[in-house]
């Protein structure tokens, strides 16, 4: 189908975008890369009276390192991330996940902030910011505020961004030394949203024991699930095969998956166990190799 009629604005600055958002209130919808919103417009699942297109705001597209964090402007294209030497060097986990997000032609347009603000329960970036305890910077007429990942995702397709606010930046810690990482997902076809996916970051100490573990699972609930109980089983261990098997079994226990068109709850549980095991195994080997 074709989109319904809407008024269209393409502001050049963040301030202009916020002013438009304030003026039009609930009537308005922000357009980022459009790889989820335009299909919804075409299906008429979304029918905003006003569309505010963020694609002509250059200040929203950048990748920079700042005080131990990698900062992504919300309108940074996924394709930009995929080929960024800075990201490859400082946060390679993000590149691994990006290659699993859609296809090259959708990554040309798709943005980091769009994916996170859309908060699809099966999208890759929400899983990473959750695992790495990233931060989202939102801006409204009253200024900026920073929201931690743990407080940001409120439900499927629902975030803590208030009406009148725009997501402007996403921050994640750069990869510590002696770390290993892995992003594992299972989807029916390459480029599809995952049925289940997991993001893992392990940091070892000089004695090859795990100093810090970060594990998140997505697709098995409404929001990405950080797994402190699993992390505690791994931390201060040598990540032997036995521990990895136990930790991944624990991860499968912690989720509360739904049965839907794509997979049964039992199958999601099974996938969680298998994917977490694979991710931990790969990340541990890598961390040891870099020690």
């Amino acid at each position: 189908m074709k989109p319904p009629a809407f008024d269209y604005h393409d502001p050049r600055t963040i301030d202009d975008a916020i002013a438009l958002l304030v003026r039009h209130g609930g009537e308005a919808q922000l357009l980022a890369g459009g790889q989820s919103l335009v299909p919804m417009l075409n299906f008429r699942l979304a029918a905003p009276a006003v569309l505010i297109d963020l694609n002509r705001i250059p200040d929203l597209a950048y990748i920079k390192e700042d005080r131990g964090q990698l900062c992504f402007g919300a309108m940074t294209r996924q394709r930009q991330v995929e080929f960024s030497p800075l990201v490859a060097h400082r946060l390679p986990l993000m590149i691994e996940a990006t290659r699993l997000a859609g296809h090259l032609p959708t990554r040309t347009r798709g943005t980091v902030g769009g994916s996170i603000a859309h908060a699809d329960p099966a999208a890759e970036y929400p899983a990473i910011v959750t695992a790495l305890e990233g931060e989202m910077v939102v801006q409204g007429a009253a200024g900026k505020r920073v929201i931690k990942a743990a407080d940001f995702f409120r439900g499927a397709f629902t975030t803590a961004i208030d009406p009148g606010e725009i997501l402007v930046e996403i921050r994640m810690p750069v990869t510590p030394d002696h770390s290993g990482w892995a992003f594992e997902e299972f989807s029916r076809r390459h480029g599809d949203f995952a049925i289940v996916e997991t993001a893992v970051m392990l940091t070892f100490d000089a004695n090859r024991r795990c100093r810090a573990a970060r594990v998140a699972v997505s697709g098995a609930g409404a929001i990405p699930l950080r797994m402190p109980a699993v992390e505690r089983m791994i931390e201060d261990s040598d990540l032997s095969e036995k521990i990895i098997v136990e930790a991944s079994a624990q991860a499968a226990e912690l989720i509360d998956p739904a049965t839907d068109l794509h997979a049964s709850a039992g199958y999601r549980r099974h996938l969680t166990r298998v994917l977490v095991r694979r991710a931990l195994t790969r990340a541990a080997a890598q961390a040891r190799g870099r020690n």
Binding site: D7, Y8, H9, L41, F43, R109
Partner: protein, 161 residues
């Protein structure tokens, strides 16, 4: 401002102007307003890839963009691949040589996606070719001929290095 907007962009090396309502999809504008029907529309929601074109040099789904977003851009469609005298470009010739099409519906999208793939990775492995081509669906060929065609072009580049 749901009224039509003036737009102007370059497509296949020519500057074209027009008017588009904001809701007009870029794919429809290219096909219906500019008469460039080489770009196909299969699903209209970003899944099939038949509508893939190059937008400022990079492949995009033209059914997931608004025509007004193309203002000032440089576009290329399948019509822009062959030279003015009708000589097929290398990728098109390889598609022909390797029977990479049957009904041809997916072909414009396949060509543009493969073009972008070879641009970012001039010497892809078969695995990388298959991953790249998974951006476009083909209901006829079983993909083998398409993979062979892209491999052949990549092979020429391997040899040229």
């Amino acid at each position: 401002m749901a009224e039509p907007r003036k737009i102007s962009f370059t497509i296949n090396g020519m500057v074209r102007d027009g008017q588009a309502e904001p809701r007009r999809l870029l794919a429809d504008f290219i096909r219906d307003d500019l008469g460039l029907t080489g770009t196909h529309i299969g699903c209209e929601h970003g899944v099939c890839g038949a509508c893939t074109i190059l937008f400022n040099g990079a492949a995009v789904r033209s059914c997931l963009m608004l025509a007004v977003q193309a203002e000032g851009a440089d576009l290329r469609t399948v019509e822009g691949l062959a030279s003015a005298d009708g000589q097929l470009d290398r990728l098109q010739q390889a598609f022909r040589d390797h029977h990479a099409l049957q009904c041809g519906f997916c072909t414009p999208g396949m060509l543009m996606a493969a073009w972008d793939l070879l641009r970012v990775n001039p010497t892809p492995t078969e695995d990388e070719i298959r991953t790249g081509l998974s951006a476009v669906l083909c209901r006829c060929t079983g993909y083998q001929g398409i993979v062979e065609a892209v491999k052949a072009v990549a092979g020429q580049r391997h040899a040229a290095r």
